[in-house]
Subunit: 135 residues, 2 copies
């Protein structure tokens, strides 16, 4: 089966050494430092925006089949891995929706961080809310 | 710089040969066929769920710097690539929020498809809406 390879476009920088489990309950602040070659692509990101950050759970061990079912820390029952946000997943890809505080040069200052310092960032996209048809 | 490698967990299957530009305006139906080894991880996905599907824009040519600024088809002005959903991005990673119609064995039937037949799927996550603090 074919593999797909990605290089980080940047890295997370934060002083926090403990982190909430999920961006939806986080008020941690930090920065996303983008490689200078991609800086121009940040031109239209501004304070107040919500951005989708796709990153690599770079500290996760290799996936093994017993992780197909997991008990999330905030639940008393188990869930199939694709119904969880666990960092232990077949491809260790994470997604957080962060709030932009400022953009300075090649650095995005953000709130709601739930990633460790040094986390490799693979992509940034605008956040688009799901709406019913005609909504 | 380190590279990160991912293997598809499955593939998109659809009969549509033209596709809307974005899941938010799509009513195309199709299937995500998951590799049998990951089938157990689908256990808690059910009809009516919204799922975040992370996939590879496998037909995109290699990224080049003139794509750091692009004109989205639905806009009359340009945008920095990280404020667009363009398939031409430093890492060709896509994200769609799809509606689950049914799950049968290792196949998820979905609506709102905006990916080509054969698109490699890298991850599936629950859709979690952004809410203000205390919201």
């Amino acid at each position: 089966m074919q593999e797909y390879k990605f290089k980080p476009i940047g890295y997370v920088r934060t002083k926090a050494d403990t982190l909430p489990r999920h961006w939806s309950v986080s008020d941690v602040e930090g920065e996303i430092v983008i490689e200078p070659e991609y800086k121009l692509g940040l031109r239209d990101i501004k304070a107040g925006d919500k951005i989708v950050v796709i990153f690599c759970f770079h500290k996760s061990p290799a996936f093994s089949p017993e992780k197909l079912i997991q008990k999330p820390p905030h639940l008393n029952e188990t869930r199939g891995v694709f119904s969880t946000c666990s960092p232990h997943r077949p491809n260790p890809i994470g997604l957080s929706v962060l709030e932009v505080l400022a953009v300075e040069d090649n650095i995005i200052k953000v709130r709601r961080l739930d990633m460790y310092d040094g986390t490799p960032v693979l992509d940034i996209k605008p956040y688009i809310e799901y709406r019913p048809y005609g909504g």
